[in-house]
């Protein structure tokens, strides 16, 4: 068995990204097993087929109450919340170390040195910036990082150690309820929780290699050069590129999260974006990019309104009464929402107290205060 496995998590709309990452890994690290948690794979797809990765489905995970998690969140935060679960799963399968990558990454050269760090430390994190930003809008960019998290959630290396398991269990618990953008309260999806890791983990490694996890948040600070087809960042080989927020249908922008940053102004890096876009197309992105997320509907096909998710979350532990929140039968959450479960007085009170005007203006209400 390999000493290390790599994993990522996608829904169908990012399947092409996972394929591209898989091909790039296979090219530079053919010996490393690559697992993709394909959250909405169909039964026939689950049996394998010809994907360039090892497919995992949600049913493979050891997670209590997974349907509640999928109900609580929309697609993106739900996938993010599964990161610690996937890390735990692969460590539990016997890999001494596991690296979790975001699907929208591309291995351009060997990342062996980074993998060696992952293997030799309890936890390995990749900071958004490994040196102080220097350009004119540096303060604004740093403040965004203070709000979004110092370390990037797209690169998390974990090894089979007691302190790592304690950390991953804690992270999983937090993400099961607090995996949203809520800067005022102090969290931002998976990422701000990682800021606490240097306090919680003794053997933590911070990867400060400018060639790892190159993305819109550090590109403006990096000196870029092209050496044949090799991209150099600050004179170092660019090894792992992260196309966070890049939309192949809007290829002029480096990221939807940095709307003013064009790929053209990135000079030598522009070609990397162009190549990546082509790879996505070749991997079938146009066929899967609009695939609906199946967990957006109750079992009867009715779409789950944002207010319904909010109501479910606002119930806190009361929501445990509903073993399957997607259900629409008697005594279901669906019936409660639709006023057909009058015997559930306690839940109704909880709902009314925490989500006033739920039924009157379900689409316009503000989320409840946690």
């Amino acid at each position: 068995m390999s000493r290390l496995a790599i994993g990522t998590i996608v829904a169908r709309n990012y399947l092409a990204h996972a394929r591209v990452l898989a091909h790039s890994l296979r090219r530079h690290h053919p010996e490393i097993p690559f697992y993709v948690l394909f959250a909405d794979a169909t039964d026939s797809e689950r049996d394998g087929g010809d994907e360039p990765f090892q497919l995992l489905s949600i049913a493979d995970l050891d997670l209590d109450d997974v349907r509640s998690l999928l109900f609580r969140y929309e697609c993106k935060p739900a996938l993010i919340a599964l990161k610690p679960t996937l890390l735990r799963h692969l460590l539990g399968a016997g890999y001494p170390s596991v690296l979790l990558l975001d699907a929208d990454m591309l291995v351009q050269r060997s990342i062996q040195e980074a993998l060696d760090h992952v293997s030799s430390h309890a936890l390995t994190l990749s900071p958004h910036v490994g040196m102080a930003p220097t350009n004119a809008d540096r303060l604004a960019r740093e403040r965004l990082l203070l709000m979004a998290g110092i370390y990037n959630g797209g690169f998390v290396g974990a090894s089979d150690r007691p302190e790592t398991h304690r950390f991953l269990e804690w992270w999983e618990t937090r993400l099961s309820r607090h995996c949203d953008d809520n800067v005022r309260e102090g969290f931002h999806f998976d990422q701000r929780w990682l800021d606490l890791a240097p306090g919680f983990i003794d053997d933590l490694h911070i990867l400060r290699d400018p060639g790892i996890n190159v993305a819109y948040w550090n590109l403006p600070d990096l000196e870029l050069q092209l050496d044949d087809d090799r991209l150099l960042v600050n004179g170092q080989t660019c090894r792992l590129f992260h196309f966070s927020g890049f939309d192949p249908d809007d290829p002029g922008k480096a990221s939807r999260y940095a709307p003013d940053l064009t790929t053209e102004e990135l000079g030598p890096a522009a070609v990397v974006f162009r190549q990546y876009r082509q790879m996505l197309k070749d991997a079938g992105h146009d066929q899967t990019k609009d695939a609906p997320w199946p967990w957006d509907r109750f079992v009867n096909g009715v779409e789950i309104a944002p207010s319904a998710r909010q109501a479910f979350r606002a119930m806190g532990d009361e929501s445990r009464r509903f073993s399957d929140p997607f259900d629409v039968r008697r005594r279901s959450f669906y019936r409660l929402l639709n006023g057909q479960a009058s015997s559930w007085a306690r839940c109704r009170r909880a709902l009314r107290a925490r989500v006033p005007r739920l039924r009157r203006t379900p689409e316009t209400q503000k989320p409840p205060e946690p």
């Binding site: 900071p127 958004h128 910036v129 490994g130 040196m131 102080a132 303060l139 740093e142 403040r143 965004l144 990082l145 203070l146 709000m147 110092i150 370390y151 304690r166 950390f167 804690w170 937090r174 607090h178 800067v183 005022r184 309260e185 102090g186 969290f187 701000r192 929780w193 800021d195 606490l196 240097p198 306090g199 919680f200 003794d202 933590l204 911070i206 400060r208």
Partner: protein
Amino acid sequence: MTARFIAVTIASKPYLSLARVTARSFHEHNPEIPFTLVLSDEMDGWFEIAKEPFSLLSVNEIGLRQLERIRFHYSPQEFSYAITPHVIDFLLAEGWDGVLFLKQETLVLDTLVPLCEALQRHSLMLTPHLLDPPRRSGALRRELDVLRAGVYNGGVVLVANRPESRRFLAWWKERTFSDCLCRVEEGLHYEQRWLDFAPSLVPGAHVIRDPGVNVGHWNLPERDIRVENGRVTANGGPCRIFRFSGYDPEHPERITKYYPDRRVDETGGAASVFERYNRMLMEAGYAETKMWPYAYGRFDNGAEVTEAHRSEYRRLGDQAVRFGDPLATSGGQSFWNSLEPALREDG
């Protein structure tokens, strides 16, 4: 130990008694290391330095650019926080090998030599508020409070004289010059949140994971504090630095104003440390010094500087420089005379 270290704290006159307690407790356990106070205020003859347990540096002497602007830009508390990186960098520029910065509300309970030795191997040493996911009640609340206020506590910052730490201090100075404010919805919490960047920006930065260094309200539920023969221990090891963030000696039953429900008598062995601290504060003249005036808190016509004045001044950004010292009211070009009449009362 051949390297030369210095300890430093920052206080304005009303908090001089706190600085005295920090200095005295530091000297008791670390007689070989000098301790200095940077007064974020004017002395104005209120005390005699020869009788104090620290050497004194004036805020005018530490090379602070645009001093008149920054001391008006910030409230007294924000100002004392904002100059932290300037103070540390000034002392390193003076040639010290390492600076132990301790916030004013600190009690040193044991030798800090092990920390000084570690500082010879690192560029920067910080203490996180939490060393493990808290297990006691209110865990989530406390984690979120830490995420909003900063992962590392700004009350204990140890810096070695190395190029990488000097570069970090230059960066931190620039940040605290304009953004040493509490605006959690924008990611800001005084000087402290900027420290979240330190481990990724500074090669050789070290996170101190010692339960006996920097004990405070944020980690007390996870600390077993005991006092035996006058020696204080935390989770079985020496308790070296105890911090009293938000402690009000006039409400000695409360740990901190930030969590008014948490009571000193529920902290087990730590209760006697709080009592000791309270006694030391009183002996250090707490009741007297707290009445001393903050020199930058009034215009030269006697009017009190309010948050409305400061916020109006901050809004001007770099344009504020044209007023010179904003505390000076005379002349048509003064900040005072530029204010709306409603902000110019009781002159």
